[in-house]
Symmetry: C2
Subunit: 321 residues, 2 copies
DNA sequence: TTGAAAGCGCTAACAG
DNA sequence: CTGTTAGCGCTTTCAA
């Protein structure tokens, strides 16, 4: 390639990387040769030498929760514009697998790593410290971070939900969760929610926690079960919109009068919930933005150091409360 | 690291890669030292030397269509178990950007590359030929593939949809698409659908193609528009479930008698459509399996060569037809 | 079964 | 503005 262009290897390297102080003549020669040979640089070699890789490691639990695709879109939107690539790892909500995945991804000497949640043990902290790689943890902003954090306060969100439901006049409120309250932030939400209801003098009537992963189907089934067991319940707060949509669909089929007879509130504010016959009340979280901001912080972290960014949430007052 | 274990560099390498013919004593020494130093191998160097990288490039259009997260989950399920990592690129349905992304990903010398769709020009074919990297194209099985293909026949699926609706007695059928019929496979579906309706002697009444991307919200709006313009329509086939759900939600709100007064059929068979008050009729596509099979084919391609795998679809007869 | 030497393709550091 | 030199951390090849 260098010989083809009739210049030195390093000049090729400089042109390919848009280094400064390159004459137009040289640039022309190299670009022409590159096109003629459809030359693809080997970033493996470049990264090895320069000790920094244009790869960003991204560790998410799974793609099957609609939250994470949106986060990933946000991450990619920033990485793409900076010419970086994401190496992806999925933990499947399994801490051991997460450790393994992180180890694998770190072996590519990424420019930074984005992790989900704030609950990471010594194994992870050790690896990251050793590699001296910038970290951003997303989703949560409460906890002991490794580096930066970008997310929302789940306890505040739960309190806002409790306040909203109380303001709407609901007094006999139930809760439905799934997946045994994994991840921990959903547990944190329920606890804060219960506490705030207590504070209002209208303690939670019952919490129904399923073993299965969230889906509209099991949300519907759980709603039926909860209402059968506790017919006095006048409102249900769900761990997420998938469950809540199941509840809403059940209520619509059963001809319940929503929101008078039964109030329903989800979490995340997915688009689909805005299009249902009665829009689903929910807590909107900035998922895309969370990913974008995380990538952004990662790139700034060399100069600006670790930060914690609260992206906030919004109570979306649909028609179900 | 090698000195710490008191052995040669190459022995460390062999142990780390589980090479054959290693004595237990050596293996012990190396593993102990590795744990003591929490040694992370540098795959950049390994891949550079061995010319093969344990990375698999994955190019998808976007995460905001629920199809692709499921595909990605499928891909990851296989890669994870083989100790491979995915480098992800999103094209945003933009061919130019796709070329750029593919070039970037190829520069990591991936073990293989997974592309979405079968419409790739000479630029892409050239790069791939030059790198001599195995390719699997997903989603479609009709077209001129670069390497392997894994997907479903969109024309057959459309024909099956037309047959189903005809068998259900619908005679004045409309169609709603979005995003100007990107990607091309959705256009292929509509054309095959129209042709089959023609074949049945009940030509399509009207097709309403939106500019915006699919969502339940615009699906509802388009449904209203289409029915206003063509009140005689008794059934609508949608380009995907997002649009169809919007139509269903509108019909439920408006008190239309589904499926008698209006039939609705989507495409993809998303879970959410199975939980709606009336389950949404749709064409189920094997999304997770498509990703898994694609990754699988990539790994086998060295030995078995390119293949085309038709994963098939299923007409899901919900309550909306 | 283990080791020594060489070099993958690039880029940092320094010269010119 | 361009080139020379050296070496990133591994693994291939060959030898012991």
């Amino acid at each position: 390639m260098a010989t083809r262009a009739g210049v030195s290897e390093i000049s090729v390297s400089r042109v390919m990387r848009n280094a400064p102080n390159i004459s137009d003549a040289l640039r022309r020669k190299v670009t022409d040769a590159a096109n003629a040979l459809s030359y693809t640089p080997n970033r493996l070699a470049g990264a090895l030498k320069s000790q920094s890789s244009n790869l960003v490691a991204v560790v998410l639990p799974s793609m099957s929760n609609a939250v994470f695709p949106a986060v990933l879109d946000g991450i990619e939107s920033v990485l793409d514009e900076q010419g970086l690539n994401a190496v992806l790892g999925l933990s499947g909500y399994d801490p051991d697998r997460e450790v393994r995945v992180i180890r694998e991804l770190l072996s590519w000497s990424p420019k930074g790593i984005i992790l989900t949640g704030v609950h990471h043990g010594e194994a992870v902290r050790g690896m990251i410290a050793q590699m001296d790689v910038p970290v951003v943890q997303i989703m949560d902003i409460e906890g002991d971070p490794i580096g930066s954090m970008v997310g929302v306060s789940h306890s505040h969100a739960a309190i806002a939900a409790a306040d909203h439901l109380h303001a709407r006049g609901y007094r006999r409120i139930g809760y439905i969760g799934a997946w045994n309250e994994r991840p921990e932030r959903s547990l944190a939400r329920r606890l804060a929610f219960e506490q705030q209801l207590q504070h209002h003098g209208t303690p939670l009537v019952a919490a129904h926690i399923l073993e299965d992963r969230s889906s509209a189907r099991i949300g519907a089934a759980a709603t039926i079960a909860l209402l059968t067991e506790h017919p006095e319940i006048d409102c249900i707060f769900y761990a997420n919109d998938d469950l809540a949509l199941g509840g809403l669909f059940y209520a619509l089929s059963a001809g319940l009068d929503v929101p008078r007879e039964l109030g329903l509130m989800g979490f995340n504010g997915l688009d689909i919930g805005k299009a249902t016959p009665i829009p689903l009340s929910s807590i909107e979280t900035p998922r895309f933005q969370m990913g974008a901001k995380a990538a952004d912080l990662l790139l700034r972290s060399r100069t600006e150091g670790p930060q914690t960014v609260d992206l906030g949430f919004r109570v979306f007052d649909g028609g179900t409360t």
